[in-house]
């Protein structure tokens, strides 16, 4: 077997390969839009125009801000609750047996059902909107963190018992570092899922946010606005990924591959 072709020695693909498919689609989009000249498929330049106009009028920032606020709030609540539930279920077989059926039910409950029920029961208010998102996300976080809690190293538990770690020390120093990869996985999946649900929540019952704007644009078939707002929020989520999540992950996993000091 020649080097570089084996399954274990997979070499990195060349840099240009990342810049083929997406630009090609852009070009295709521009060509097709130019050919059919329909308002239902605006050209990329039109979408950009819309984006600049909305940004100039302040509308874009207002609605992006509203959506981002809901995403952050729902995300923080869902991660905290989900992590606590996951740890409890992973550490205690009884807790797990008690709540596992409920977890399965919630995992299979369509997001739309939760949203409708929350609005019906609590009215078209902000609390109902955020709660609906949290209820949708908590089970996913709990399931992921539960896996982590089950795989906690019993040797370190024994060590913490002998050396009389306080509850807080055990949580902060022994559990959190071991759970970190699971929390990161839940965060990654969570962010993508939550902002999508937030848009639906806004579409159905709020009067601000990207979802609300999409709703308005849908009423008049303003495809340029729909694309402009979607792309803007995708960009925001990417910024969070690059600016917060990746640096955090790099920082926290530094201990995993330390350079050998002395052998």
């Amino acid at each position: 077997m020649t080097p570089g072709t084996g399954p274990l020695r997979r070499s990195r693909p060349p840099v240009w390969s990342y810049w083929v498919v997406l630009p090609a689609i852009m070009v295709l989009w521009a060509v097709v839009a130019g050919l059919i000249q329909s308002p239902l498929l605006p050209a990329p330049a039109e979408v950009l125009d819309t984006l600049v106009r909305e940004a100039g009028s302040g509308e874009l920032w207002h609605h992006l801000g509203a959506t981002l606020r809901r995403v952050v709030l729902a995300f923080a609540l869902a991660m905290t609750l989900g992590a606590l539930i996951g740890i409890a279920m992973g550490r205690s077989a009884l807790t797990n047996a008690l709540f596992d059926p409920l977890l399965v039910l919630l995992l299979n409950l369509p997001a739309l059902v939760t949203i409708i029920l929350m609005y019906v029961w609590f009215g078209l208010v902000e609390v109902a909107a955020v709660m609906a998102v949290v209820i949708n996300k908590v089970p996913n976080v709990a399931v992921t963190v539960r896996e982590g809690a089950r795989s906690l190293d019993f040797r370190l538990e024994q060590m913490a018992t002998v050396y009389r770690f306080s509850r807080w020390q055990r949580f902060r120093e022994v559990w959190v570092p071991q759970l970190f990869p699971y929390l990161m996985a839940a965060t990654r999946g969570g962010l993508a899922l939550i902002w999508k649900i937030v848009l639906v929540v806004e579409l159905l019952g709020r009067s601000s946010g990207v979802g609300f704007q999409l709703h308005m644009a849908f009423q008049v078939f303003d495809v340029a606005a729909i694309l402009a707002y979607s792309l803007a929020f995708i960009a925001v989520v990417q910024l969070i990924e690059l600016g917060i999540l990746q640096p955090l992950e790099r920082r926290s996993s530094r201990w995993r591959q330390p350079e050998a000091a002395h052998a």
């Binding site: 060590m159 002998v162 050396y163 009389r164 570092p177 000091a261």
Partner: protein, 223 residues
């Protein structure tokens, strides 16, 4: 200092039988016995890790500060040596001093996995000392160390015990030669379920070898 009245411990099948013994200040006990007999199980019962062993089975444990040197270092791999020591109560200055005592001066800012096996074990020993223990539990402290390193570690442990005459030690080993250097008392665990077949002070170094030979033969004959 400690009074053991362990009724037994089983994992599906009985491992430990009844264990009655006392541990006094200054006792340097080497716990020997065939491998897999339950020596670590006994240490875990004494240390309180094994929560299925009731508190009354180890009288006096509440008043004892335990330093436990596990077979693996069991330092938190995401914390530096110094932070690991501070976590169990040492000040930053004490942490540096303790690391110096085990020959790791200047290694405070290293992560445990950056060290060799022998160094990591010494760092773990420093953590044992950080709790100012009066009972030191050592689980095969010389396993998988080369003879030079093992000898050096033995000397350090003897030095620590000499410096703290009130400290008691229980050291699991399967090498009678360790006992000759470290022990003033011998426990021999054997049988099924395992009991202490021997619990007495140590005489001449030569007699340890003879005694162990006898105990091991007895064991073979019995099984």
């Amino acid at each position: 200092m400690l009074e053991l009245r362990i009724a037994g411990r089983d994992f599906g099948q009985p491992v430990l039988g009844e264990i009655f013994a006392t541990v006094e200040r200054g006792d340097r006990i080497c716990l020997l016995g065939p491998s897999g007999i339950g020596k670590t199980t006994l240490l875990n019962a004494i240390s309180g890790i094994d929560q299925s062993v009731p508190k009354e089975a180890v009288l006096g444990r509440d008043k004892v500060r335990v330093g436990y040197l596990f077979q693996e270092h069991r330092l938190l791999p995401w914390r530096t040596l110094s932070a690991n020591l501070r976590l169990v109560g040492a000040s930053s200055q004490q942490a540096d001093d303790l690391l110096g005592q085990v020959g790791l001066t200047g290694y405070g800012h290293y992560l445990p996995d950056q060290l060799s096996l022998g160094m990591a074990r010494r760092a773990a020993l420093a953590r044992c000392l950080a709790v100012e223990p009066n009972l030191l539990l050592l689980d095969e402290p010389f396993a998988s160390l080369d003879p030079v390193m093992a000898g050096e570690l033995k000397k350090r442990i003897v030095g620590i015990l000499d410096a703290h005459p009130d400290m008691a030690m229980i050291c699991v080993t399967h090498d009678g030669a360790d006992a000759e250097i470290l022990a003033n008392r011998l426990w021999y665990l054997a049988g099924s379920p395992a009991r202490l077949q021997w619990d007495d002070a140590v005489g001449e170094p030569r007699s340890i070898k003879e005694l162990l030979g006898k105990l091991r033969n007895l064991d073979l004959a019995g099984s």
